[in-house]
Symmetry: C2
Subunit: 335 residues, 2 copies
């Protein structure tokens, strides 16, 4: 066996470009497992914006920063190749927080490791319609933003992995959906493939003005972004509207906190409820969400478009595509 290749975080990145200046592809001999550990032969890596935060030295994020010199951490999907945990025997197809590596070594409880359903024909769906992005969309739209049939749901980063699922969860729950995304191609996809009522290209259009054409305002907003998009939505919220803060991608590449929304005052004026949530808090509820997501997937009511890159040596390219919004749908890397 050749060595295990992995990405090591050597320096804190600046911005969302040139990650090769900050991470290094390394190789090591396989280390022996400790009691309770599991080795996974990684088949797929999931590229997620949230991981950008633990590359930075900020200690006030949702998770502590990753120490410099550590293997980069992210969601992995693969088969157990060696096990010192009887719950996960060799050969089990698993998903959890591992490393950007050919062979991930994890303690299952710390990694949120789960055996996934082998009957799903496209294993990428464990990062798609049945994955953490889908749980996030489901919890955020249904519980945090608490959208009701006939209401208007707005979604930012709507052509991204989570946003595109949030649009569809809203549509499946009977809401009218307005997706906000960057570029005409993404907006076309939202309208033609995902069935949203309105798509707004924030690069070419005045988001605030277009949202103002919705009579009665936005009842629920699923926000992945923060920043100027949030500023455009807040004055267009209906009274007693709900904002689910899923992400603040606009601020992840900075070592300083992103400034607060310019229209924070609207939280009072319109009596809004703004709530941050973090899907790992809901891991133990996954079994509750999965049947609905699986039923929608099987019925053709959850479309996931995959943006696929091959080879561990190309991870940084895929990651940068995702962070800069060049992707449509879910960015994955096939090892």
């Amino acid at each position: 066996m050749t060595g295990n290749r992995f990405w090591r975080l050597d320096r804190h990145p600046e911005g969302n470009a040139d990650f090769a200046r900050f991470l290094t592809l390394c190789e090591e001999d396989a280390v022996p497992l400790a009691e309770g550990e599991v080795r996974i032969a990684v088949e797929w890596l999931s590229m997620d914006a949230g991981t950008r935060m633990w590359m930075s030295p900020r200690t006030d994020g949702y998770q502590p920063p990753l120490p410099l010199g550590a293997k980069m951490v992210g969601l992995v999907l693969g088969r157990v190749s060696e096990s010192r945990d009887s719950v996960f025997p060799v050969g089990t197809l698993v998903r959890g927080f591992g490393q950007w590596a050919e062979e991930a070594v994890v303690v299952p409880a710390l990694a949120g490791l789960e055996a996934v359903d082998e009957s799903v024909s496209d294993p990428r769906q464990h990062f798609g319609a049945l994955g953490m992005n889908a749980w996030t969309a489901y919890v955020g739209v249904r519980e945090v933003a608490a959208v009701k049939p006939g209401e208007w749901l707005a979604v930012s980063a709507a052509a991204g992995a989570t946003g595109s699922l949030a649009c569809q969860v809203g549509r499946n729950l009977g809401a009218n959906v307005v997706g906000i995304a960057g570029g005409a191609e993404k907006c076309r996809w939202l309208i033609e493939e995902l069935g949203v009522q309105m798509a707004i290209d924030y690069r070419a259009e005045d988001v605030e003005a277009r949202l103002a054409t919705i009579p009665g305002g936005i009842h629920a907003f699923f926000d992945n972004v923060g920043g100027p998009i949030l500023d455009a939505v807040l004055p267009n919220m209906a009274h007693y509207g709900r904002v689910a803060i899923c992400g603040m991608v606009a601020g992840y590449d900075s070592d300083a906190p992103m400034p607060g929304p310019a229209r924070f005052d609207q939280i009072l004026m319109r009596r809004l409820r703004v709530e941050g949530f973090f899907i790992p808090d809901f891991l133990e509820r996954g079994a509750e969400f999965l049947p609905q997501l699986r039923a929608w997937l099987d019925a053709g009511k959850l479309t996931v478009r995959f943006d696929e890159t091959r080879g561990i040596e190309n991870v940084l390219t895929a990651y940068e595509r995702m962070l800069t919004g060049k992707n449509i749908g879910k960015v994955v890397v096939r090892l």
Copy 2:
């Protein structure tokens, strides 16, 4: 009978000073009542920060701006002196949104007019422990911030009319309370008379650093102020904490929206719920809150300190005292 004296809004005020440049004390002959109207011989006026907003031309506040040339509107307490509404016969002691006038003329349904309990020995308590500030404190602390026994509740503008009641509601519900106020005298009052566990003088102390000494963080924050105080509290919130946005006094004197909190990111990082509320939305629930408030008042568990000014000609002085925080407790004007 001499004419009815009232304050007229002639220009939009700037800042929180020199209101005499913007409002004029006028006198008029009594106008005949229309069907459904009620005339009130005003005995007390309540000075409330929220009214500062409708003096400004902003159309995105909770209420439309008051037109220039109109009588200034605020909460009044007095007896019906003439009535064309059979629900409010002459002689009834009533409270509602009237005018800064010796004789207020209102349509009861639009004014939120209510007959108040004559058995309360100090009628000022209808603006105090039994008034809208108390309802605000009760709803904000108990329902919006949803404080539980043993949790830590922070209150800003804690020596003001609403804040001092919010501290006591929290204490009565079994919370530990930290009050944030401006000046040593206010802080002493909070500790010695209102029984808060900690008082922070934001003019002399580092609010963020003192809050950081609370182990486990703040579970619930009742915010009247916004701005730098909110910035100091957010990074000290416990995970899953609740912030009740009751007011944004820091921004009321500006025609432009107050900038959003610098630590808005903490809403995501700490999974906070931030909710704006507006007590007139809860008017019809007053009957539900009153028995508890009355019981606390009778048991000596709601202390209200009144800051009293006499004479309609001195209204602007009282108003400015309240807006600039020179008061301790509830500012009222005795006509």
